[in-house]
Amino acid sequence: MSEPSLPAHAGRIWRFGDDIDTDAMAPAVWMKAAPEVLASHCLESLRPEFPGQVRAGDVVVAGANFGIGSSREQAPQALRQLGVQAVVAPSFGGLFYRNAINLGLPVLVCPDTSRLADGAPARVDLENAVLLLDDGTTVACEPVPAFLREILSAGGLIPHLQARLARA
């Protein structure tokens, strides 16, 4: 096993339910606002305390189909703006998944999130696709294809392409 590929500090887990749509992350009425303003309303309709209390490094753990609905990438952008380290869920809306990778927000498919309790500390090891818990145990996620990890480690698609175009 190699070293963790992301900052190794622990964040707290924020639990959300199934079928969370991108309108909830980036509400339509704030779509014309600046990114930090939009982010300050991220998921507030579900957990009003979330945008104010989430800290850099925290981990969002959600139910099935996280990020369904509109293709607006302000949804993963808002989570990243708030410092969310990764989103972990049994399944994702396909568009949200692509957008998150492209914006450099790690997304991990985790078949069984039952041991990831709300408020508990957790660290994300992207390269090995596991969450490290305080008691020393791990929760396994599906491996992220190397091609997508390259984009994530560059910080998203744009820096990834910058490097590629510079080489061309």
Partner: protein
């Protein structure tokens, strides 16, 4: 043509596989493999388009790889309701003209005007900067949505990576009964299969009831593939497709080059799943707040009082949708206290509705005509539903707070059911008014 009489292909493939293989420049692609695809066409609207991709292109030091292959449509912020929307529109128009890309300005909703302009052809791979981009799959194009960052990547390189999708076949046998339409099929599927059922694979609509649908009804199927969570929703092109494209002005020489026998799923092609439904048994569906997955036969919602009946969006205000509503509204008036709002999906559809008298039927029933734009469906402008209001809408999504205040509630239904509910002021089975 009998399937049994056709020679079995060496490696039977789905329509989705064939579309991706062509774009990837390969003879054959296997589901699950990553494929780098050439993009035939890219489309953005005023929200996800220039205002967001231009700064990213600047960061990359790149320009649009082929401006003749990029179409920008204004639909989310028109008509401009405030100075910030006006500024977005100004930038969108100015940047698009300077970039040399196509601009379709104020003509209607992107998913409807793009095919109207003949841009969506069978066999193409098209990316759109909007989640309802699968709409183009109705024409046998592999069309799907991307976010602004990915769009910037496409515009810089002309390429996009795909994981070759598996195909889920949704087969509708038999024929739809009067008063039942494509929207009911999709609401039914959202409830029966669930919003994640598409698994970001391709879904393909097939069967006699699909073959019998008009192009715009097929577009409703493909459009709501987004709600099923599929990457795209395909209908194999046929004579209906070519006739529609011909009427849209696509040159005969272009259409003659489309091999209908090729752009279909081969017998024996690998499918992830096949679901077979009896179209004749389908009844009008209504999705209760706040998810399309809350769909059920109309009788379960019948009697619910509504103050707003909304015919709008790429899903529910195309010409064929307006015609369906007119079947119910002919010679009738909306109930007192009900606002029937109609936002025809495109200028062209509205003009045809006007010529043929469909619009007059809606107007005489008391409908209020709104601009040809996304309107309340996108929920960006002033036209949002107020707190406490109950609405029935022909749109695709009724997530809490999307079309209006968080205290509003939206039921989704077909244009027929929306019209019938407007007439009575309560959610109503349209078959009782036909």
């Amino acid at each position: 043509m009998s399937l049994a009489a056709a020679p079995a292909p060496a490696r039977p493939a789905t329509l989705a596989q064939k579309l991706v293989a062509r774009a990837a420049g390969q003879e054959h692609v296997e589901p699950g493999a990553l494929a780098m695809c050439r993009v035939d066409l890219a489309m953005s609207h005023d929200s996800s388009g220039p205002r967001r991709v231009a700064p990213l292109l600047q960061t990359l030091g790149a320009t649009v790889w082929d401006p003749s292959r990029y179409v920008v449509v204004t639909d989310h912020f028109v008509p401009a309701g405030d100075p910030s929307a006006e500024a977005i529109l100004h930038f969108t128009r100015d940047w698009t003209r300077r970039s040399g890309a196509h601009l379709i300005d104020g003509e209607g909703i992107c998913h409807v005007v793009l095919p109207e302009h003949g841009h969506v052809l069978p066999g193409r791979l098209i990316v759109g900067g909007d989640s309802h981009s699968p709409t183009g799959g109705a024409f046998g194009a592999y069309m799907f949505g991307v976010g602004a960052t990915e769009m910037a990547g496409v515009l810089a390189t002309g390429e996009i990576w795909l994981r070759v999708p598996q195909t889920i076949r949704l087969q509708w046998d038999g024929a739809l009964a009067p008063g039942v339409c494509a929207k009911d099929m999709m609401l039914f599927l959202c409830a029966r299969l669930g919003l994640g059922a598409g698994r970001y694979e391709a879904v393909e609509y097939a069967g006699s009831a699909v073959a019998a649908l008009s192009m715009q009804e097929r577009m409703t199927l493909a459009n709501m593939s987004a709600e099923l969570g599929a990457q795209t929703g395909l209908v194999a092109p046929d004579a209906t497709t070519l006739d529609w494209l011909s009427a849209a002005g696509v040159p005969a020489s272009t259409l003659a080059g489309i091999d209908l026998a090729w752009w279909r799923t081969d017998a024996g092609a690998p499918l992830l799943a096949t679901h077979v439904f009896d179209a004749g048994a389908l009844v009008p569906q209504v999705a209760a707040p706040h998810s399309p997955a809350n769909s059920a036969p109309v009788e379960q919602a019948a009697g619910e009082a509504v103050q707003i009946a909304y015919l709008g969006a790429c899903t529910g205000a195309k010409l064929d949708d307006l015609r369906l509503a007119a079947q119910v509204l002919r010679g009738r008036r909306v109930a007192p206290g009900v606002s029937l709002q109609v936002a025809p999906a495109s200028v062209r559809d509205q003009q045809q509705a006007e010529r043929e008298g469909t619009l007059a039927i809606l107007a005489e029933a008391g409908a209020e005509l709104l601009p040809n734009a996304c309107g309340a469906c996108a929920g960006y402008g002033a036209a949002r539903f107020p707190a406490g209001s109950h609405a029935i809408a022909s749109t695709a999504r009724n997530f809490s707070g999307r079309m209006g205040d968080a205290g509003s509630a939206v039921w989704l239904a077909s244009p027929l059911t929306v019209a019938a509910s407007a007439v009575t002021g309560r959610i109503t089975d349209p078959r009782t008014l036909l």
